[in-house]
Amino acid sequence: MNDQRPVVIIVFIFIVGVVLLTKLFMIQVMDDSFMRKAERNAIQRIIDHPYRGLVYDRNGELLVYNNPIFDLMIVPKEFQVQDTTRFLELFGITKEHLIESYQAARKYSWVKPSTFIKQISTTDFAKIQDYLIDYPGLFIMTRSVRSYPNPIASHALGYIGEISGRQLERDTIGYYAQGDYVGLSGMERYYEHELRGQKGVKYKMVNVRGIDKGPFKEGEYDTASVAGKNINSSIDLELQKYGEFLMQGKTGSVVAIEPKTGEILSMISAPFYDPNTLTGADFGKHYGELNSLETKPLFNRPIMATYPPGSIFKIVQSLIGLQEGVLTPETTYACNKSLVACHNHPSPVNLFGAIRNSCNPYYHQAFRQIINQEVSSNTYKDTEIGLNAWREKVLQFGLGGTLGIDMPNEKKGLIPNSGYYDHYYGNGRWKYSTIYSLSIGQGELLVTPLQMANLAAVFANKGYYYTPHLVRAIDGDHNKIPQEYLTKHEVGVDAHHFDMVQDAMVQALYGTAQRAIMKDIEIAGKTGTAQNPHGEDHSVFLAFAPKSDPKIAIVVYVENAGWGGRAAASTASLMIEKYLKDSISRPELEKYVLAGNFKN
């Protein structure tokens, strides 16, 4: 019996070996979770945050830069403080804050750094810098926040802030991490990819106590961060500054475009806010404050507010009529106030006179010619066909849809189609008398100030536009801007039709906007008054100048300021002068605008 026992023992030893090797095979080869756990243990991934790109104006003046800020970090394991009173005094915190922050840090990690005091100012940093050595476990981590040398163009430039949970979810490639800063509005958001650069990553090894043991594999897997691209905005710093100066205390929008390129020279949403308030430690607090104001300073009016286009729309009607052939410069109608109200002017008028005098009955009659071309003998059907055909032509002018500016949240406005009226009145139950207010830019029509400014550019260019945009060059290269901004859009109206319209616009100033007239610059313009059911009408003015070679197309909205010929026309005229001549020759007009009383 004992003879078999050595064999049993050999078998036992062999089984022990096989069992051990099997278990080893399971954890070493089959299960790769240990590899990941090992990496989590010993390899720290340190993100190298790139320098965010700067933003300049069209002349190379700095608009946005990065300002270093300092976070005081704490490593609980190493933290020691002898004289608590002195410590609290030096860092300007309360004892409760100290205890709370320390405990939060401990809870996060005993050995890894966490933020102790967020965003210390440069002055405070200078104060504590030399004393830091006395407090082991505390160190400074430098980050940077956006900063603005001139507190202007806040809406156009936008702001950055901590990435939201929803944005993180949508970031399918996992570029962003919790706590990262991203562009949340304006150009900062639209050009996030260009501005942010590319994060770098460094792998370093740490031991069990979190102590740095050098780069992992001699930095073989490390990547350097790539700084963000600098952007040249099309904004003109001086014009923007002057515009905001004029618009202070008012509510409204100013959009100025260089007609030949679509570059936005100035974009003002009033009331505005100082972009410096939405940076740094108090972002959340300031954002909350601005957001709760009744004047809605965060609301980006040029692209988000919609108004009826008013009388200015008559120019679009004239151009469509001319192109359609239902109007000629000689077409004459009487100012029949029984059709629609009008102010007193000579009657009858031809097309030129209609534009110059902004004659409502003229357009009531002209628009009927555009809509009811007797394609169908059924007047309802004919109106439906006419409206939809007309709408297609209006859309060509960049109305009724987003233009595609390089900012988020652009509104479409509204150019109604037949379906719109069908919805309210039922199919076949509405005709021209239902929709005639469209003829004078009232009724259901809605446009944004940006669309109106683009319209000014169309008039200036005699029939084409480039999508308005805020970017002029990326990395100093004009050709790197999005291709759609280099594409010409024709509006489908022959250039010669614009000649008479432009002449009429010059003359129009003498009728409705004499304040806007300048001796040495020929301005073509048109006033508008956007009806406001809630109060005083909005003052609107559209213009471009000089007429012979337009350099600036502008639209000004001043809410609740009444006639277009007063607040809006004066503001627009001053901005044109500022842009073209770089000086103001009419201080009394400036004073008039700043005073803000447009009742007379």
Binding site: N2, V8, I10, L21, K23, L24, Q28, N41, N207
Partner: protein, 424 residues
């Protein structure tokens, strides 16, 4: 004139080669465990453990030469005195030794310290061989069983008192030798069943399942048995006793010292407290598991050299191997141990006298236990027991004691032709 004692041709070179292979691999791994890329210390630097281990290896070689040069009868003659000397040293250790972590394991002067517990294994092996070599010694008889266990029990008690439960457990490995020498098989069947039951009782949350299982098994046994009243009563009593045992076990465990309780709990649920009690096993498994098939490369391990694994150069030295050489490295070392142990069985079986054979099986018992338990604990198959991996782990006492243990047998084996056959 008698034949020369040292006959090179009779030395079992296979086991000697495996010994040196393991010692060398161990030395490289000890360097890897303490390696710090920023410190740039050489493997020979005496200020770090690999340098010190080199000294231990050198002195171990000196010991080998002394053993091989000694008279082959020396060990048999000195077996009992050596045993007694180490018993005395074990008794003295708590009084004159140095306390580390609440344990007093070593005695000595200055930096020269030895752990009597390590050497007592060798002494006990010699004593057991001496005790049991008489042809009349029959392990199937209870009186001889008691005597053999007595020889074991004394050092076990003394070591537990130190307290060093891990080393004490090693003495149970002599059951392998007892098995070879004829201890009845039923003891092992009962013993293993008992261990299995204990493990199940600890591993299964609800003892009710286990109790149900016992009732079913007892029922089946009664049905299959002779169905005599006596047998039915006997089976029932055993069944009830076992159920009582499973229920009392939790109580017994709760009375154990806390660190031992924790080791047992962690075995069944290593994720219980990965940062606390489970830290050793969790980190050890991470280190070994992250090695993959081929390992991260020599000195490229991050888990062991950055101290994530505690005791990485002594009891957890296998982690370094697993991490840096992967499964292939594990395979080589496990294969070396298995080959050595099987080789030792073959050598033991070719001995002409019982003393040599029993001693040989003692060596096999001790090495098997250390090898099995040490590696098993690093991969979470066994509770953490602080015992070293033979020839591999850092430490003079451990290396010396295993060297003496092994080479005494190699010496006996090389001289077997000179000895009279005195087989039982």
């Amino acid at each position: 004139m008698r034949e020369k004692d040292i006959n090179i041709n009779r030395v079992d070179w296979i086991s000697v080669m495996i010994y040196f292979a393991l010692v060398t691999l161990g030395w490289f791994n000890i360097y890897a465990a303490v390696y710090d890329g920023q410190a740039e210390k050489s493997i020979f630097d005496f200020s770090i453990n690999s340098g010190k281990q080199l000294v231990w290896i050198g002195t171990a070689i000196a010991l080998i030469i002394v053993i091989m040069a000694a008279d082959y009868r020396l060990f048999e003659n000195l077996a009992i005195p050596i045993y007694l000397i180490f018993l005395v040293l074990l008794i003295l250790t708590p009084f004159i030794g140095k306390e580390v972590n609440g344990q007093v394991l070593s005695i000595g002067v200055g930096s020269f310290r030895i752990q009597a517990g390590e050497f007592a294994k060798f002494a006990t092996a010699l004593a057991l061989a001496k005790f049991m070599e008489r042809p009349t010694f029959d392990l199937s008889k209870p009186e001889f069983q008691l005597r053999a266990f007595g020889v074991l029990l004394i050092p076990i008690i003394l070591i537990i008192l130190q307290p060093d439960t891990g080393t004490a457990m090693v003495y149970f490995s002599f059951l392998i030798m007892f098995y070879r020498e004829g201890l009845p098989q039923k003891y092992y069947v009962f013993g293993l069943s008992f261990i299995a039951l204990v493990l199940l009782a600890l591993g299964i949350e609800n003892n009710l399942y286990l109790a149900g299982g016992i009732v079913v098994i007892v029922g089946i046994l009664i049905m299959l048995g002779k169905k005599t009243p006596k047998q039915i009563i006997a089976f029932s009593v055993i069944g009830i006793a076992l159920i009582a045992l499973t229920y009392s076990l939790d109580y017994v465990v709760s009375k154990l010292p806390e660190h031992q309780q924790n080791r047992i709990m962690v075995l069944f649920n290593p994720d219980l407290d990965p940062l606390g009690v489970g830290w050793n096993v969790t980190q050890s498994k991470i280190a070994i598991g992250s090695g993959g098939l081929l390992g991260k490369g020599y000195l490229e391990g991050t888990q062991t050299k950055f101290d994530f694994v505690p005791e990485q150069h002594t009891d957890f030295i296998f982690c370094t191997l697993g991490e840096e050489f992967g499964w292939i490295g594990s395979l080589v070392v496990v294969a070396l141990f298995v080959t050595l142990l099987i080789r030792l069985v073959i050598m033991a079986e070719r001995q002409k006298n019982r003393f040599n054979r029993i001693y040989g099986y003692c060596v096999i018992s001790i090495l098997t236990f250390h090898f099995m338990v040490n590696i098993a604990m690093t991969i979470g198959l066994f509770p953490v027991v602080g015992i070293p991996l033979p020839f591999f782990s850092y430490g003079g006492s451990s290396l010396w004691s295993f060297t003496i243990l092994l080479f005494t047998f190699i010496k006996m084996d090389s001289s077997r032709a000179l000895q009279l056959g005195r087989m039982a």
